[in-house]
């Protein structure tokens, strides 16, 4: 089936099987391998992208469902003038170690800060409960998200 998705500002069309997950469409059809896949149970959040501005697990969405939508991946976050403030905060707060969870974590955090006002540390932890990190212990991730939300 023909799908047309605006990915990081550019309309991308492809003929995909209906069973194609958005994560596979992004990685395999479009070569955007920043979006990671870390589980097969919808639990890790490594695959998180923005669909029409809100976080979504791209392993739990068919590419055909995203037809006509606006998708932002980690590759589309930085602007001409450098890193997105959330990326910058992750960098400055040392909010990553191996980096595997980072693209999904950053996309989830961007959506979270946009969706919820007056986040405190507990709110950030709760809001990122769908994103697992096996390295950092989360402390610096929470710090980064709070820094970027100010």
């Amino acid at each position: 089936m023909e799908v047309s998705v605006t990915v990081n500002g550019t309309v991308r069309s492809a003929d995909v099987e209906p069973r194609t997950l958005l994560a596979h469409f992004l990685r395999d059809d479009l070569g955007l391998t920043g979006t990671n896949i870390g589980c097969d149970t919808s639990s890790c959040g490594a695959c998180t992208v923005l669909v029409d501005g809100r976080s979504a697990k791209s392993c739990t969405l068919l590419a055909v469902q995203a037809d006509g939508s606006d998708v932002t991946t980690i590759e589309g976050l930085a602007g001409d003038d450098g890193l997105h403030p959330m990326q910058q905060a992750f960098h400055e707060c040392h909010a990553l170690q191996c980096g595997y969870c980072t693209p999904g974590m950053v996309m989830a955090a961007v959506s979270l800060v946009d969706e919820y006002e007056d986040l405190d540390a507990a709110g950030v932890r709760e809001g990122l409960e769908g994103n697992l990190c096996r390295c950092t212990g989360y402390q610096n991730i929470v710090k980064a998200v709070l820094a970027a939300s100010e």
């Binding site: 069973r19 809100r54 959506s111």
Partner: protein, 271 residues
């Protein structure tokens, strides 16, 4: 990790969905937010051959309060329920329950209708609609019918919905009396090991994950109506239940949780 091959149809209305389901029979499955169905398809526990995507159908989402009833379109997302000021005023229990489902990404896509139709006894929203004494409005080939929430859940992942019916609307009474949802889990973003839901100061009490369907704790409701204290009423919360055993909890532990969580919920609700 990759679903089995499937055909895909996008429909623009509930009527078109009913027609498509009728045409493709048992092999077809409705797709709303996909937050339950796609994980099952990925594991090939579900292998429909036709997906009828109702996700963009018009007129099936939104919240409206009229008189003493709140009407909610089946496609309304958990996230819309969570953030609706109207719902927070008219039925704060439902708005709160929506806010503790899964994680934000799941709530952005998952729908109230999908959660009810999926009929998972471990899910939060079905028990909320049950505690509130809600009604489900369903469209089928012969027109539409209403099903009381108490009659809707018929077994594990089974409901009174026929294969060619579409859930279009959920109605709950305006409910601003004391309420509480005590959800007990150990892992982030997880379903409840057990949950206890109290609506209208104890007039409606429902339990999550204590049977093959969400259930009303009618013995608790009756004890309260008869003047029992919250603690005494909650002591009977697990009476005549046969909760499931899984890798997180066995039956007796679930019964213990049901009593404790019901007491906490009743106390929080001011019962």
């Amino acid at each position: 990790m990759i679903p089995a091959a499937v055909d895909y149809l996008r429909v623009e209305s509930a009527e078109a969905a009913v027609a498509a389901l009728g045409e493709h029979g048992d092999e077809a499955k409705l797709l709303a937010g996909g937050q339950s169905l796609i994980p099952l398809m990925r594991l090939r526990l579900a292998t429909p051959t036709v997906l009828v995507d109702v996700g963009r159908a018009t007129g099936l989402s939104g919240i409206s309060v009229g008189g003493d009833t709140v009407s909610i379109g089946a496609l309304t997302t958990h996230s819309s329920l969570e953030h609706s000021a109207e719902l927070a005023a008219a039925c704060p229990l439902l708005a709160h329950v929506a806010s503790v489902v899964g994680d934000p990404a799941v709530r952005h896509r998952g729908t109230l209708g999908g959660s009810l139709a999926h009929a998972d006894p471990a899910s939060d929203l079905p028990a909320a609609v049950l505690a509130l004494g809600g009604t489900l409005v369903v469209s089928g080939p012969g027109g539409s019918r209403e099903i009381a929430a108490t009659d809707f859940f018929t077994g594990f992942l089974e409901s009174d919905l026929a294969a060619d019916e579409v859930l279009t609307e959920v109605r709950v009474p305006v409910s601003t009396g004391g309420w509480s949802y005590q959800k007990f889990n150990r892992r982030a973003q997880d379903w409840a090991i057990v949950g206890a839901m109290v609506a209208e100061g104890g007039a409606g009490v429902a339990l999550v994950n204590m049977a093959s369907t969400p259930i009303r704790a009618s013995s608790v409701e009756a004890a309260l109506a008869g003047g029992a204290s919250a603690a005494d009423a909650a002591a009977g919360a697990a009476d005549s239940t046969e909760p499931p055993t899984d890798n997180q909890a066995d039956g007796p532990y679930r019964q213990h949780l049901a009593r404790v969580l019901t007491r906490r919920a009743l106390e929080a609700a001011g019962a």
